[in-house]
């Protein structure tokens, strides 16, 4: 009887458990709620719940992250457009993870991959172009088009694939460069401002490198072409930036072979290839320099500041990579649902609203692509972060190139300390001479990618030919010894069998 009762209870519980999912799905279908599936990098949007002392008190008003931005958007959309929207938010680790997930059958409506992945998706015709209404400047709710930095706008418009502009399909989110976080007490700024740092024997095993094929390949090319890139002829040549972009996107087999050889050498000079530990090791003082993206650089510097540990950021003098993560809408997810597309574009506009931009920048530490247009709050925020009052020790740091496209614009100059021109401010808003030598890294086709990945595997795997003969002999000796030992144990009864005594029978 007890058994039967138990069984019945089991069955009931299971039915309830299975029933839960369809019930919740039906709930959506019944109402007019628009469901928006968003995938974003981990920790890449303000999740709210700030501490009370974290209020950003700008002159034009306080900015504070109370609720997660996703929730704020849902409420804002209902209030502004009178429609209910429900966001299904998920995160991924890398661009490749996202792409893998989508090929495995996950569908999203709007995602935020890096530049090269946007271009790859464009090439594979996965993306829906942004609508004309989205670019309508007269609509005051179109925060994106009204606030996009002229510098980023130009960058996205001049980057094309198959004669289609990147800017028609993507809305920029965060951008930055690559460089080295370094400890100025141990290493000079000059030494840290070159890709040659990778093979500087003075700092052998004290520099971390990213465990990422694309970024490290870029750095190694910078090292290989260092002399060429810094020569005056090259620097003064016409189409200087175009030439850098060409050079740094060279993935021909010969160049990859050269890079592989170089990487084999560099491998023995690094502290490690890291995915995340480089930042904390830098703050802990275990390394003297660390190859980082600018946003992570800001984060590292901030962390070090909390421990009163002074670090700086440098961008290699040869060239650097300019990267930009951008929101794109997927054909597969949105299909022809106009309501959904409107909601997706409204989402981009909402997170491009200056106060939300500030919230995200504060939370993530990266630099937004939005400069605010007529709204000066974003510049005010930069000034709030890095401005200094003291007249004697301050320097002028122009930000005009980013905010208006005019480097000499007097309204966009921050008075800041000398240190800041080598620190957070410099990594968040690099100077225009840095940007002149920054190149976008394009996407590579399957064959080129396979070649690069193979190169990385070759570099990381144990190289048999590097083992000296003597070591082989020792290894062989050990193996033979173990083999003999095992054989002796297994067959010891046969080997050590005693002579049978006459008159006795063997009992087995």
């Amino acid at each position: 009887m007890i058994r039967r009762t138990l069984a019945v209870v089991f069955v009931i519980l299971m039915t309830i458990g299975m029933g839960l999912f369809p019930v919740s799905a039906e709930e959506y279908e019944d109402s007019d709620t628009i469901i928006l599936r968003i995938a974003n990098c981990e920790e890449y949007i303000d999740e709210g719940h700030w501490g009370e002392d974290e209020v950003i008190d700008l002159e034009s008003g306080d900015v504070f992250g109370n609720n997660p931005m996703i929730e704020d958007f849902e409420n804002w959309y209902l209030k502004t457009y009178g429609k209910k929207v429900k966001i299904e938010y998920s995160t991924y680790g890398t661009n490749e993870d996202l792409y893998n997930q989508m090929t495995l059958g996950d569908t999203f409506d709007i995602v935020c991959p890096s530049d090269y992945m946007c271009l790859k998706m464009m090439d594979e015709d996965m993306l829906l172009p942004l609508s004309d209404e989205f670019f309508d400047k007269s609509n005051k709710n179109n925060f994106y088009v009204n606030g996009l930095s002229p510098y980023i706008k130009n960058l996205m418009e001049t980057t094309t694939i198959n004669n289609r502009k990147w800017s028609d399909y993507s809305a920029g989110y965060m951008w930055g460069t690559m460089g080295f976080v370094y400890n100025p007490k141990k290493i000079s700024r000059e030494e840290a401002s070159t890709w040659k740092l990778f093979e500087n024997s003075k700092y052998a095993r004290q520099i971390t490198i990213k465990d990422s094929v694309r970024d490290t390949y870029f750095g190694v090319l910078g090292l290989l072409y260092s002399d060429k890139l810094t020569s005056p002829e090259f620097k003064n040549s016409k189409d200087y930036n175009k030439k850098i972009t060409e050079l740094m996107n060279d993935v021909s087999p010969e160049t990859i072979d050269k890079a592989e050889k170089k990487l084999q050498e560099i491998r023995d000079y690094t502290y490690c290839f890291e995915t995340d530990s480089g930042k904390s090791d830098m703050v802990a003082g275990k390394t003297v320099a660390s190859f980082q993206w600018s946003g992570d650089g800001v984060y590292t510097l901030d962390q070090a500041d909390e421990d009163n540990f002074y670090l700086e950021f440098a961008v290699p003098k040869e060239c650097s990579n300019i990267w930009c993560d951008a929101w794109v809408m997927l054909k597969d997810g949105i299909q022809n649902d106009k309501e959904k597309q409107d909601a997706a574009e409204a989402f981009i506009n909402y997170i491009s609203r200056p106060d939300n931009v500030i919230r995200n920048m504060y939370y993530i530490g990266y630099t937004s692509c939005i400069s605010g247009g007529n709204d000066d709050r974003i510049f005010e925020y930069a000034d709030w972060c890095y401005g200094a009052e003291d007249e004697d020790n301050t320097v002028d740091y122009p930000l005009g190139f980013f905010f208006t496209g005019d480097e000499s614009d007097k309204n966009y100059i921050i008075k800041t300390t000398k240190d800041q021109t080598k620190r957070q401010l410099f990594s968040q808003y690099p100077t225009s001479d840095v940007l002149d030598r920054c190149a976008v890294m394009m996407f590579f086709d399957d064959e080129e990618n396979a070649r690069m990945n193979q190169m990385w595997i070759n570099v990381r795997c144990f190289n048999l030919s590097s083992v000296p003969l003597f070591d082989w002999l020792i290894a062989l000796g050990i193996i033979v010894f173990i083999a003999v030992l095992v054989t002796v144990i297994v067959f010891r009864n046969k080997i050590f069998r005693r002579k049978r005594l006459k008159g006795f029978k063997r009992i087995s």
Partner: protein
């Protein structure tokens, strides 16, 4: 009417097995023997044995496994032996001290080891191989000592007394009686250390050994969208594990019955 029998209690496990062991295995086998376009091929298999990277990685992983296993064995055996023969009343408490680290997640423990090693060595990057062995040994030590202790504890004291009565001295008794009788423990200890170490790439990652072992190599193939070659490496690794297990089982059968020394 639904009739309940005890057998049905196995259903949850059977379902689990189906979804998380058998189904993935089928998928791996499918990918291992097809190319990117889904056509049947043996290329992945030949790739494995002609590519110097995979062979090099296999050798490197096995070497790490071998050294770790030996170090574990050499450290654990005397401890287990002394513990098993001691007249202490609370042996289990002492044993627990050795096993206690297993209660804490191993990545946390390795993080701690990393800090200690940094304090001792100054710069971790100079001794990647040594660090790897230390980390692995620390990680897998409990898996070696437990079966050894179990096997040694269960040895019938009377056999050792008999050996002494027959005139054997301590060393002879150990070689002729104690050690052979503890073989099941030794073998299960070796199995439980040698095989997992080959793929435990997290320890290498965390202790900054930038050379790939089998685990990281498989991961790198999957990250590079090359599921076919990645699956093939997994299959070969599975085959190696199978062979080693069969071999050690046979060894266990020859050296004596298995006295519940496996964990």
């Amino acid at each position: 009417m639904f009739k309940f029998s005890r057998k049905q209690l196995c259903i949850p496990y059977a379902v689990f097995l189906l979804f998380f062991v058998i189904a993935p295995l089928v998928v791996i086998i499918y990918y291992a023997f097809t190319n990117g376009k889904g056509e049947f091929t043996f290329n992945n298999f030949t790739n494995f044995f002609t590519d110097s990277n995979t062979i090099g990685t296999l050798i490197y992983s096995m070497f790490i496994s071998l050294v770790t296993t030996l170090v574990c064995l050499v450290i654990a055996y005397p401890v287990a032996y002394i513990l098993a023969n001691s007249k202490l009343k609370r042996k289990s408490v002492i044993l627990m001290i050795f096993i206690m680290p297993m209660w804490i997640n191993f990545t946390l423990r390795i993080t701690a080891v990393k800090e200690i090693l940094t304090a001792i060595e100054g710069n971790l990057a100079y001794y990647p191989f040594l660090n790897t062995i230390i980390g692995m040994t620390y990680d897998f030590f409990p898996f070696m000592i437990l079966p050894l202790y179990n096997a040694l504890e269960k040895i019938d004291r009377r056999l050792i007394e008999a050996s002494h009565d027959l005139g054997a001295d301590g060393v002879t008794t150990f070689i002729k009686v104690t050690f052979p009788l503890s073989m099941p423990g030794v073998i299960s200890g070796i199995t439980m250390v040698f095989l997992p170490v080959m793929t435990n790439y997290v320890v290498l990652d965390m202790l900054y050994n930038s050379t790939y072992i089998m685990g990281s190599l498989i991961g790198s193939y999957f990250n590079a969208y090359d599921w076919n070659n990645g699956s093939m490496i997994s299959i070969v690794l599975l085959a190696i594990i199978l062979v080693v297990t069969l071999f050690t089982n046979k060894l266990g059968n020859i050296t004596g019955e298995n006295r519940g020394a496996t964990l």
